[in-house]
Amino acid sequence: MVNWQYSESIESSEIVKIKKKYTNYIGGKFVEPSSKKYLNTVSPSTEEILSKVPLSNQKDIDNAVIAARSGFEKWSSITPYERSQYLFKIARLIQERSREFAVLESLDGGKPIKESRDFDLPQVAANFFYFAGWADKLDLSWSAKELKPYGVVGQIIPWNFPLLMLAWKVAPALATGNTVVLKPAETTSLTALHFAELCHDAGLPAGVVNIVSGNGSTGASIVNHKDINKIAFTGSTQVGKLIQKSLAGREVGLTLELGGKAANIVYEDAAIDQAVEGVVNGIFFNQGHVCCAGSRLLLQESIHDQFIKKLEKRMQTLRVGNPLDKNTDIGAINSKEQLEKITSLVNEGVSDGGELFQIECELPGNGFWFRPSLFTNVQPSYSIAREEIFGPVLTTLTFRTPEEAIEIANNTEYGLSAGVWTEKGSKILWTADRLEAGVVWANTFNKFDPSSPFGGYKESGFGREGGRHGLLSYLKASS
């Protein structure tokens, strides 16, 4: 008999040299934070301290904004074609150092290497390539008489796709002629700080890209800075609302990409096996740390039992463990705080009366882990059906008619994404038209592309990232 025993396949981390301590990147120079304070950055899969990153204060932000302002003058004085060339060059450098960045992303953030290697990094390079080509074609993009950059843009990004969110922010901002002060998330700053080296290597003019690490108060210093022209934020709806409030009356541009609680609707006439795969990808991709995750499974009543049975069987095959193992499907939860939040919401779901299924698997001793989980027998009023869990937890609700599915799907303050599964074309279009969501995946889920606009309705934020529509987030248009 063949021995099917599992054997691991670990990606070597030798390719990346992690420094003991990092500096900010301001005005083309690598500088110590004026606070002289640092944050430890921890590998969530081992709890080992990987390095220290600057905990920047108001003075550091002041310096970065001044640098970005002078960078803006320089950036505005060169031709659109030259701006385009810099972006193409960055795209190429990313491709060349892709594996190094992928390993670093998995070490620092806990995501499986197969995702950082095959999804995050290729998408990062693709974003720079895509927007590079827009830099000298802005006059063709929208039929407005005048399209002007904002100037200095403050960008605050989350920890779930650290370098990809940087690319989503930096590439369009630079292509449209803005300069940036970017703050990576405090638990995942390393790839952004390595990206600073890459900008340096590309010979990007000083001050065009400034990377400043820190925590929430560093972010607040950016938002409240007097000389910032626009803020682009990706993160929670709670923080997004605070930022919107802080900017009240200030004539500062704002785009927000906030939380979600996406409905993934499976009709009885769906291709069931494909839908099971799509639902698994929809919620367990990146440990469910995805703002557009398909976290509410809406099943038509007639297929509920059959679907759940198949789904549980498929979930049981998911491999949870070392992010650097090339076979790993589910890596580490990004931080202790996030693990606590997920655990608390799941406990609440159980005490509310939800039926919880978790896969059986061994979890590593150190690090932050959570078993892929599925709730059935859930009422729409439960927290697990309403709040963003941001973890590998799927909540099931049922419906009888398409109209009811739409009503349940839209019955949330969020409106970022949604999924629909059916083999009937007219039903896809009917459903997609009625879903209040910025992205609708039909018979697929969690697909992304630099040319495809992404962003939400309602409290999931405003503005789009990606595509021709994404340019408008960084341009002031007038007729």
Binding site: A144, S452, S479
Partner: protein
């Protein structure tokens, strides 16, 4: 013979109504006094309920029909040209300027009428994604829009503050203060143009007293501010709006494609290709 004087009323859900508060305020025009409804908090709420249902009706109206309804609006106005010009003239505007304002209004309505069945082609597109996927970005109207009109007496201004949102399928609640009489006069032509009830509600009153009720109302999806406001009021509106991530547009463009962009949400739909 005693002259018959018209009572001006708010226009909500296709009906002419007094403010539920029973209150009015006085506008003086050409030496004559007019009592206009002083819109209350409850009136705003009623208008939002009506606008929500109006939005659904307008959304299910085909772009071709929307074009015809908006064109009919210009026809209705044209039939009442003299009465508009008289209102403008009574406010001290020269005959020439009054006629110009009126003609510009007609031109504007017809421009937007013709855009109602075209804008989707101008702002949406297929996206060339990698891989075997059909991927299209198209637009949905944002929903219920509140629009604050300027105090300046101008039909063209009033129309410019309403038409961009209306053209793309939003329902609009328009509030005017000093220019209220002209707005309520305009409401009479709306009623004759076949716009579904609730699609466009016209109110008169004092925005300053309703600022919290309007900017905190979670079922208003966007606030378009055309009237110049103090810094404090803009700040208050934007702070209130942040509690529900409401969109606020201060002095938005009223011309060209830029004028409709604030009222649209981009929806991107993916589907695999295959055999």
């Amino acid at each position: 013979m005693i002259e018959v004087k018209k009572t001006y009323k708010n226009y909500v859900d296709g009906k002419y109504v007094r403010s539920e508060s029973g209150k009015t305020y006085t506008i003086t025009l050409g030496g004559e006094h007019f009592e206009l409804p002083l819109t209350s908090r409850k009136d705003i709420r009623d208008a939002v309920v009506s606008s929500k249902s109006g939005y659904k009706k307008w959304l299910s109206t085909s772009p071709y029909t929307r074009t015809q309804i908006l064109y009919r609006l210009s026809e209705m106005l044209e039939g009442n040209k003299e009465s508009y010009i008289n209102i403008l003239k009574n406010n001290g505007i020269s005959k020439r300027n009054a006629e110009k304002d009126f003609n510009n209004s007609i031109e504007k309505i017809i421009w937007f009428a013709g855009l109602a069945d075209k804008w989707e082609q101008l702002v949406g597109n297929l996206n060339p994604v990698s891989g075997e996927y059909f991927n299209i970005s198209h637009q949905n109207p944002i929903g219920v829009v509140f629009s604050l009109n300027k105090d300046e007496l101008s039909l063209n201004q009033l129309i410019s503050s309403i038409l961009p949102a209306l053209t793309v399928g939003c329902s609009v609640i328009s509030l005017s203060n000093n220019s209220g009489l002209l707005a309520l006069k305009f409401a009479e032509d709306i009623n004759n143009s076949d716009l579904p009830a609730g699609t466009l509600n016209i109110l008169s009153g004092n925005f300053g007293k309703l600022i919290d009720d309007i900017s905190k109302h979670v079922e208003i999806n966007l606030l378009a501010i055309h009237k110049e406001l103090t810094f404090e009021n803009i700040k208050k509106i934007e702070e209130n709006a942040s509690t529900s991530v409401k969109r606020v547009k201060i002095y938005p463009s009223t011309e060209g494609i830029s004028s409709i962009l604030p009222y649209l949400e981009t929806k991107t739909v993916w589907h695999p290709k295959g055999t």
